[in-house]
């Protein structure tokens, strides 16, 4: 259990292409909205944590430009580069260290401006994998093959899961509310990397998300402020870079990360959660993760629609954290799961979920 709380949060309206704003304007608007949501003035912050990718931002050391719009001007700021949810993990540790008490964590993604798969391909080390042209879709295709075997997932299930995810996502006023494809349309969409089809993949969107985070000490000194949620558990870990059979098929990293977060929360297993938002970049991920956690049927998985609602790839995990916070705060609107007291948010990063992070929130 931590003594860290979420005071406020905001997400930029998602879009396939935010055409009317530069990235720094998206970041500024979202950070500003989070501060307003928390009823906090930027002057009160004692630090800022940001999470971003230079390559997806299309600019080397992108935080040179983006740290100020993210609220970090003349603040103690550190940037994490793995994912938005990893940025959140760093933010919580900074608060838990006792050195900082009120911070803002922001993350963003405007992949409409970046050649996404070219960036992904440049992740390949130059000796073996770059020449074979590995990229995100191919890595996910390998993942899909592996988990289809290890978790007995068939294409019909996957096609149905895509339809169900889009249908759920269409109810989320914070999501893209995209058209729901029929099962047949999913089943006949072109292959990207067998068995992965185009419509199995959650489309990448532009987005930005910010959260105001505070220590328990700060909250106790400000009894007039009301937190949205308490961070009760936090865990992250990385798996092997090499895409071997065990690495692809076992979801060992995902399971261990969840286990550690639950342990920190004082929970025995995932069945004690009311809501879990899973970063399922494809429906193969979705089904494999559900089976890996061995969840009972009454737990609501990704009521927000998960990445099929919005998928600003780099910060999708942090989007899920906001959705989880909104659930425990009873502010999730049309996708509110009644009586939610504990919600988990999952984020992943790297080829085929090399890295995983889980944050568990409770009502404050």
């Amino acid at each position: 259990m931590t003594d860290t709380f979420v005071l406020g949060a905001a997400m930029h309206p998602p879009s396939a292409w935010v055409a009317d704003k530069r990235l720094e304007e998206m970041v500024f608007d979202t950070a500003w909205a989070a501060l307003n949501n928390a009823n906090v003035d930027r002057k009160e912050l004692d630090h800022v944590t940001i999470a971003a990718s230079d390559e997806l931002d299309g600019r080397s050391i992108s935080s040179m430009l983006l740290s100020a719009p993210a609220g970090a001007y003349l603040k103690d700021e550190i940037k994490a580069t793995d994912s938005g949810l990893i940025g959140f993990c760093l933010e919580v540790m900074r608060i838990e260290s006792g050195r900082f008490h009120l911070g803002l964590v922001s993350s963003w993604n405007k992949s409409s401006k970046a050649p996404f798969e070219d960036v992904m391909r440049m992740r390949c080390e130059p000796f073996y994998t770059r020449d074979i042209g590995l990229n995100m879709s191919i890595a996910d295709g390998l993942f899909a093959q592996a988990v289809s075997r290890s978790f007995a997932i068939d294409q019909c299930e996957v096609n149905a899961a895509v339809h169900a995810s889009y249908k759920q996502a269409s109810q989320n006023e914070r999501g893209m509310q995209a058209e729901v494809p029929s099962v047949e349309a999913v089943a006949t969409s072109p292959y990207v990397s067998a068995p992965l089809r185009k419509l199995h993949q959650a489309p990448i969107t532009d987005g930005c998300v910010s959260m105001v985070v505070c220590s328990g000490d700060w909250l106790r000194k400000h009894p007039d402020r009301r937190a949205l949620a308490k961070v009760s558990g936090l865990s992250w870990r990385i798996d092997d870079y090499q895409l071997g059979e065990k690495r692809l098929s076992s979801l060992q990293g995902f399971k261990q990360t969840f286990r550690n977060a639950l342990l920190m929360s004082g929970l025995q297993d995932a069945s004690q959660l009311d809501v879990i938002e899973i970063d399922s970049q494809t429906s193969f991920h979705d089904l494999a993760c559900r089976r890996a956690l061995e969840l009972p049927t009454d737990i609501r998985i990704s009521p927000s629609g998960g990445p099929f609602a919005q998928n600003p790839y780099f910060c999708t995990g942090l989007v899920h954290a906001v959705e989880a916070v909104l659930q425990v705060a009873n502010q999730a609107g049309s996708v509110q799961v009644k009586g939610t007291t504990r919600a988990a948010a999952h984020g992943s990063h790297g080829f085929a979920q090399q890295g995983n992070a889980v944050a568990i929130f409770e009502g404050a």
Binding site: S63, K75, A80, R123, D240, Y241
Partner: protein
């Protein structure tokens, strides 16, 4: 107040060289990690979490290179993250690692990074890309010209001469003679510096750091592990960081919050770190500083903003030897960044070299009686600044 005490209990560095043709990037990182673990008397299994230090990956050409490094630094299955604040990265990584332990969530953290700056034929072409594509890149703005502009302003403000900057280079290269890991070293003269090729006024070639390849690592531990494993740790007593605006024009003139040429952001960062560490008179209480100085001209404003002397005074103290090895304040006894600059990890090298002085492990560069040491790291358009105060005793 931090919840838990944090100390450096192990340090590892590889030699910093122009090219490392017999090791891959991941092997370099592995060498540094192994050296730090050995120094700490720990095995990979004893490490609870890892923070990776790496700035732009464009120099060595693999995006998210830390992911590739996982398999080589025993990170698989552990909490792992990378931080990146440009040239300040190594210092930020140290601060992130500090939070890992101070929070009580981890007992030990390995902070490791590497760079291969000379894998690209022209680092400044890459560094031109950090600027705005619409307004700035076409002006041939890079880190050399950027800092040259700020230095011109400093020289105008305080009357500093090129020769005074040249003496900084002479001192650094001489200090580096006793640092087996330093990239550049030697007994050179002010004339040697002044006669080196002109790059961007007032800089000549010798005023500028090399493009280095190499790796560094430190192991941080909580109080319990420190007591078990290390008889002479370097306690992290103060951390401070600040981010300013990228727009250099907004940092000049009477309305700026932090004057560009004075590197005044360090007043904020240093003030915070000093308050935590109980430093009220830096010149008296700190014996060693390891400054992030990729250019000869940026030692003086850092020392002044960090309170070692009044503004405009550092050049005179430098001239009269007050910053030489074993003097009132030993500045960059390792040779500093002017002698070795593996950009993605340089800030961590500064911490490592400062920690070695506290721990009594600085070899031929060891100074006697080092109780407190300070390291700095700077990045972006000289806009990211962080500093760390290390001490022989915990404050």
């Amino acid at each position: 107040m931090p919840k838990n005490r944090v100390a450096v209990i192990g340090v590892g560095e590889t030699p910093f060289r122009p090219n490392v043709i017999d090791k891959t990037y991941v092997e370099l990182a592995q060498d540094a990690a192994k050296a730090a673990l050995n120094d700490a008397g720990l095995t990979p299994d004893d490490i609870d979490a890892i923070v990776f230090s790496m700035a732009p990956t464009q120099f060595m050409g693999v995006v998210d290179v830390e992911k590739w490094t996982v398999d080589s630094i025993w990170a698989s299955g552990k909490p792992f993250m990378r931080v990146h604040t440009g040239g300040a990265t190594g210092g930020s990584a140290l601060h992130a690692g500090y939070s890992h332990v101070a929070s009580g969530m981890h007992r030990t953290v390995l902070i490791v990074g590497a760079d291969r700056v000379s894998d690209t034929p022209d680092a400044q072409r890459i560094l031109n890309l950090i600027w705005d594509p619409f307004y700035e890149q076409d002006f041939a703005l890079n880190t050399i010209t950027m800092t040259a502009l700020a230095t011109q302003r400093y020289m105008h403000k305080y009357g500093t001469t090129e020769e005074q900057f040249a003496r900084v280079v002479v001192r650094s290269r001489k200090n580096a003679l006793k640092n087996p890991n330093a990239h550049l070293k030697g007994n050179i003269t002010v004339d040697d510096v002044m006669n080196s090729p002109r790059i961007s006024w007032p800089y000549k070639l010798f005023d500028i750091c090399p493009r280095s390849s190499g790796a560094a690592a430190v192991v941080l531990a909580n109080e319990e592990v420190t007591k078990e494993r290390c008889s002479r740790p370097a306690f992290i007593n103060g951390i401070g960081g600040v981010t300013s605006t990228v727009f250099m024009g907004d940092r000049v003139g009477p309305y700026s919050d932090a004057e560009l040429c004075d590197e005044a952001e360090l007043k904020f960062a240093g003030g915070e770190a000093y308050a935590q560490a109980g430093i009220t008179d830096p010149m008296k209480q700190i014996q060693v500083v390891e400054l992030y100085d990729p250019f000869s001209s940026i030692q003086f404003p850092q020392l002044e903003s960090l309170g070692f002397c009044a503004p405009g005074r550092a050049q005179f103290l430098s001239d009269d030897g007050s910053f030489d090895m074993g003097a009132t304040l030993s500045v960059n006894p390792s040779g500093g960044t002017l002698c070795s600059n593996p950009i993605g990890v340089t800030g961590l090298v500064r911490v490592a070299d400062a920690a070695l002085q506290i721990m009594g492990k600085a070899g031929d560069n060891q100074l006697p009686g080092v109780q407190n040491a300070l390291s700095t790291a700077i990045g972006g358009s000289v806009q990211f600044a962080n500093c760390t105060v290390l001490g022989a005793d915990y404050v």
